[in-house]
């Protein structure tokens, strides 16, 4: 080590202990920045998280799509499909919250954060916000791919309203996956724990096929579960059908509020008590 004389320790005042809302906000920004830097260091991660939805677009557009009949959608199946793919993409993207937190726990980084005079909420808020930003990036890629395969929106305003709603919905789900990430022993377990929740939510829904084509016993769940509501809301906003958007938008917003009210405290409690 060098002989450079650098002050390396002197008793410091302890006035920096107070957590004010302003400091909590700055802590959240610092953690968000840290997570986003990590994202830019592994650009292939963003690429690969776009590969799967792109495959779904191609699979359903050109392989299964011809066999699926949809009613009341201007522009036909591709316009039915794309809002569903957007939802699937952001919902799957929320899993990265679970994986990221489990990894930080596993590597002892959260342990260190817990010894710092930072806001307790910053680790979770910074993680979910960074995952939200990541979702924005993936959604942009999927929009381009959708346009290339014939997806046409009804109005720009409706499209952005739909995307905004989906990102909000995914942000709420991130807190649910935060609970999973904080409960898992490692990132692999977090991933394995997430999929049994993701699959019924994403596929037992009007994401890729009309709910009316499902058996009667499944239709009830598939109509009212949160992902279905988000899909229906996005579809109405983006391509103008079937039916009016207002009810689905309201239902989606209620789910967002409900999920946040229940799962934010659970996630924070998990974070505080995780030994």
């Amino acid at each position: 080590m060098s002989t450079a004389t650098v002050a390396i320790a002197a008793p410091a005042p302890t006035a920096r202990a107070q957590t004010t809302p302003w400091r909590a906000f700055k802590d959240i920004l610092v953690i968000t920045e840290r997570n986003l830097i990590a994202l830019t260091r592994i650009p292939e991660a963003l690429f690969f998280s776009s590969v799967q939805p792109v495959m779904f677009v191609l699979l359903f557009r050109y392989v299964f799509g011809g066999a699926i009949r949809v009613k009341g959608i201007p522009g036909g199946y591709v316009n039915f499909l794309m809002p569903g793919v957007f939802v699937q993409t952001v919902v799957f993207g929320a899993v990265s919250t679970a994986i990221g937190l489990a990894e930080d726990l596993q590597k002892g980084i959260i342990e260190r954060f817990r010894s710092l005079p930072m806001a307790r909420s910053a680790v979770l808020a910074g993680r979910t916000l960074a995952d939200l930003a990541r979702n924005v990036g993936v959604v942009a890629i999927i929009t381009a791919v959708g346009y290339a395969v014939g997806f046409r929106i009804e109005s720009v305003l409706g499209f952005f309203a739909g995307i905004g709603l989906l990102l909000l919905f995914a942000y709420a789900l991130s807190w649910g996956f935060a609970v999973i990430g904080l409960s898992a022993a490692n990132s692999e377990t977090a991933q394995v724990m997430s999929f049994p929740i993701l699959f019924p939510l994403t596929f037992a829904a009007g994401t890729f096929v009309p709910v009316s084509s499902m058996p009667g016993w499944l239709q009830g769940f598939a109509t009212y579960q949160p992902v279905s509501e988000a899909v229906a809301a996005a579809r109405s906003l983006m391509v103008g059908g079937p039916g009016p958007a207002a009810n689905h938008v309201l239902a989606t917003l209620l789910w967002v509020v409900g999920i946040l009210v229940v799962l934010v405290p659970v996630a924070v409690w998990k974070y505080r008590t995780r030994a």
Partner: protein
């Protein structure tokens, strides 16, 4: 006397009934280095995690600079630095970004955090690697970076959990120099270690912990006077002869309130009486017709310290550490 760190009867039992701490008390004088010596699983890390507010004790209390680690945890967190044996640095960030991150989270401005990061990276010879992602760093570099991050807000109290475990001798010496420098600058350092040599070199006072209990405490010299005699290893060739030899040497050892230790075919005798004891022992054995196949002298190891204090070696404690780790379900 001002105590920077105090702990009273700390108890921590993990899920599954593993008692990590079973009533640990200690007091660390301000501006000194305090060593927590013990094998894996002795409870050292658990004690550090409680003192750094990461973990709550089941019972007992502790203060850092007079602040209670449970009730005034935010005051404690503002005055401590922690470097862990697992080198908790972010692999995707560069070295500089890692130090800056911790600096900003201790509420230094970005500018000051950057400035301190540069100074510390230079101090720890990481300037060349400062803008490289940590995943390209060697183990020793990560350890140095971890310590640099712990120092970024110049905390008056530092916790170093096995700072040199797994380091090469050069890095270990360099780290020792830094720790000595820190205390000269007025910092209080609590470090845990498995190495008697390290505790001896650095710690003004130390406690030996085992199975969550303090089994000895004092200055290094005091402890060595109690435990640290040079050991004579005599390989008798077979177990039966070794047993006979141990019986013969027993009287000699008892003069210093000890017993010879039997390890397979080897008899170990602590030479509290100095080198003259070697002659005495060999004469006694010769009279009984027992000549050792090989002889070796060695300085006491941590294993000897444990044997003398607890009657069991380090290995046994490590086995129970493994159980505790499994019960915790991580790492």
């Amino acid at each position: 006397m001002v105590h920077a760190i105090e702990a009273h009867d700390l108890v921590k039992v993990f899920k599954g009934g593993i008692t990590a701490l079973d009533g640990v008390s200690l007091a660390v004088e301000s501006g000194t280095v305090f060593g927590l010596l013990g094998p894996n699983g002795a409870g050292k890390t658990t004690a550090v995690r409680i003192l750094t507010t990461i973990l709550r004790p089941d019972s007992g209390s502790a203060t850092v600079l007079g602040h209670d680690v449970v009730r005034e945890s935010s005051l404690v967190r503002a005055s401590i630095g922690l470097a862990g044996q697992y080198a908790a640095v972010d692999e995707n960030l560069t070295g500089r970004e890692n130090v800056r991150l911790i600096g900003q989270l201790t509420h230094l401005s970005r500018k000051v955090a950057n400035q301190r990061a540069d100074d510390l990276l230079e101090r720890f010879e990481l300037t060349d690697a400062a803008n490289r992602a940590v995943k390209t760093y060697s183990g020793g570099m990560r350890r140095r970076l971890d310590l640099a991050a712990a120092l970024v807000d110049r905390p008056p109290v530092l916790f170093l959990d096995e700072p040199t475990t797994g380091l090469d001798p050069y890095s270990r010496m360099a780290l020792w120099a830094v720790i000595e420098e820190l205390t000269e600058a007025g910092a209080t350092v609590l470090l845990t270690t498995q190495y008697l040599e390290e505790a001896d070199r650095l710690a003004d006072r130390l406690v030996v912990v085992d199975h969550g209990r303090v089994i000895a405490e004092g200055t290094s010299a005091e402890l060595k006077a109690n435990l640290g005699a040079t050991v004579l290893d005599m390989d008798m060739g077979d177990v039966e002869r070794a047993r006979q030899a141990a019986g013969i040497l027993s009287e000699l050892a008892r003069r210093f309130q000890r017993e010879p230790v039997l390890q397979g075919t080897v008899v170990e005798l602590a030479l509290d009486g100095g080198a003259r004891m070697v002659t005495e022992a060999l004469v006694l054995l010769d009279e009984a017709g027992l000549v050792p196949a090989t002889l070796a002298m060695r300085e006491p190891s941590l294993d000897d310290v444990f044997l003398a204090l607890t009657g069991h070696g380090v290995t046994e404690a490590e086995a129970s550490a493994e159980m505790a780790t499994q019960a915790k379900g991580r790492r």
